[in-house]
Amino acid sequence: MPLSVLLPLVGVGIIGIAVMLHVLGLSRAAQLPDEVAAKAAWLREFPDHTPTRVILSHDHHAALIETDDGPGVVWAMGADTTARALSGARIRRTAKGLRIDLPDFTAPHIHLRLDPDEAAHWPTYMKDSA
C-alpha cells in the first residue's frame, strides 16, 4: 500500500476512534467507591503488602495507603487503577492538588487531584518512614 494512502488512513483512523470514544463518554476516570475498593486496588499490585490504613480522596479517584513497608498511593489510570510505593518520591503542591515524582520510568509523574485540605495533609503521611 502506498504511503500516501496508508499515512492519512492511519492518521484519520486513530484520531477518529479517539474522538468517538471521548464523545461516547468513555474517558471517565476510574472511581474507588470506598476504602475496601481502594485496598483491593492496592493489593492487586502489591499482594504481599497489606494496608494498615487507607485514606480515600474526596473525589474517589485516588487513595493514600499506609503499610508496614512505607506509604503508597493508588490512583486511576483511565478506567482502571494502578499503585506505587512512595520510596524516593518528591512531592509538590500544585494548583489542583499534588504532583508526585518517582524514580520509576513507568510512573514518573503522578498527578493527584485533591481538595486544598487534602493536599495540605497528605504529604505528612507520604513521608517515607521505612
Binding site: G13, A18, L24, G78, D80, F105
Partner: protein
C-alpha cells in the same frame, strides 16, 4: 528472485479492515452494554503503538529482510510458490511464532520488546494493535532462518507471518465467549488468548499460540479459560503512564538500570538480560514461577489445577 510472484504487504492492506472491525466492536459494546470495555487514552495508546510498529517496520525492516536475502542467496533449496508450499510455510511459521512468543515471555531481552503488547489493562481489538517498536533488537529473526534455508522464499515467509498477525487480530475481544468445540480444540481463539493476556497467577506464561493452539497442547503450555476465574488483564506490575515512548522502551530501560548497577559480577549482569522477567540477583523480585508457587502456598486447594504447580516449593518448576 527471478520467477517469484510478489507477495503483498498484507498487514498494511488490512488497516482499513482493522479500523472497521474496531468500530464494529465498539458499536456492539455500546449497544449491547456488554462484551468488553473501551477507554479513550488506553485505546489511543494502543493505536499509536500499532502505528509506531508499522513505522519501525518501514525504518528497520531492511535489517531482517537483508538477513533473509543473504540466507536465500546461500541456500541451494527452492520449494517454489505452489499453494501447498505456501500452506506448509504458514504452518511451520506458526510453529516458529509459538517459540518466538514463548521466548518473548521467558527471556527478558525478548520480553523487553513483547511486554508492551501486554501493557494494557483492557482487552479489545485495539489491544491487538498494541505492538512492539523494538522487535528488530531482539534478534528473533534468526528463528525464521531455518524456513529460508529450507527453501521458502523470504517474501513468502514474511507474507505468511503477516497472515499470522492478521489472524491474531480478531481474537483480541471479549465480545466472543466460546466457539464450537472442534474450533477451540485446534485453533487459537478469543477464549485461549484472553488467558494469555491474564495477570492472574494461573494464567501467567501460557497459550503462546499464534494461529494453532495445538502447539501449546503439544509442548505443555496450554491453560483453558476457567469460568470460575475471570481474567485480570495487564501486567503483574501495571504501568502508571499512557506515554507511548515509555510503553515502548520501559523494559529496555529496566534492563539497563539492573545490568549496570554497581557491585555485580558479569554473570549477574548477563542474567538480568537473559533470565525470565522478574529474576533478580538477590531474589528480591518474583518470576512467574515464584508467583504461581506463592499462590499455591496461599491456596493449597488450587495445587495442580490448570496453570498451577503441584508443589509450593519455590523455583522447583524449571520449565523454560
Amino acid at each position: 528472485m527471478s520467477d517469484m510472484i510478489t507477495f503483498p504487504d498484507v498487514v498494511n492492506w488490512a488497516v482499513p479492515f482493522f479500523i472497521a472491525a474496531i468500530l464494529a466492536e465498539l458499536l456492539w459494546i455500546v449497544i449491547k452494554g456488554r462484551g468488553g470495555r473501551y477507554e479513550t487514552r488506553d485505546a489511543l495508546t494502543s493505536l499509536l503503538m500499532g502505528a509506531g510498529n508499522v513505522a519501525s517496520g518501514i525504518v528497520l525492516g531492511f535489517v531482517a529482510y537483508g538477513f533473509f536475502m543473504a540466507l536465500w542467496a546461500i541456500t541451494p533449496l527452492d520449494l517454489g510458490t505452489s499453494f501447498w508450499t505456501i500452506a506448509l510455510c504458514f504452518v511451520l511459521d506458526d510453529l516458529r511464532y509459538y517459540w518466538v512468543h514463548r521466548f518473548g515471555h521467558r527471556i527478558r531481552w525478548v520480553w523487553a520488546s513483547h511486554v508492551n503488547h501486554h501493557s494494557s489493562q483492557h482487552y479489545n481489538l485495539t489491544t491487538a494493535l498494541r505492538q512492539t517498536w523494538t522487535g528488530t533488537f531482539t534478534f528473533m529473526m534468526v528463528m525464521r532462518a531455518p524456513l529460508v534455508l529450507m527453501g521458502f522464499h523470504p517474501g513468502m515467509v514474511l507474507f505468511v507471518g503477516g497472515l499470522n498477525l492478521i489472524y491474531q487480530f480478531w481474537i483480541h475481544t471479549e465480545a466472543i465467549s466460546r466457539l464450537p468445540r472442534w474450533f477451540e480444540a485446534v485453533m487459537n481463539t478469543p477464549s485461549h488468548h484472553r488467558v494469555h493476556h491474564g495477570r492472574n497467577p494461573r494464567y501467567l506464561d501460557c497459550n503462546y499460540a499464534g494461529v494453532f493452539i495445538i502447539w501449546d497442547k503439544l509442548f505443555g503450555t496450554f491453560v483453558p479459560e476457567l469460568d470460575s476465574e475471570k481474567v485480570d488483564y495487564g501486567l503483574v506490575h501495571n504501568l502508571g503512564t499512557f506515554n507511548p515512548l515509555r510503553v515502548a522502551f520501559h523494559e529496555w530501560v529496566g534492563i539497563y538500570r539492573d545490568a549496570t548497577q554497581p557491585g555485580l559480577g558479569w554473570r549477574e549482569r548477563l542474567n538480568y538480560c537473559v533470565m525470565p522477567p522478574g529474576w533478580s540477583h538477590d531474589g528480591s523480585r518474583s518470576t512467574s514461577l515464584d508467583i504461581k508457587a506463592r499462590y499455591v502456598s496461599q491456596y493449597p486447594d488450587s495445587a495442580g489445577s490448570p496453570g498451577l504447580p503441584y508443589t509450593e516449593i519455590k523455583g522447583q518448576n524449571t520449565r523454560p
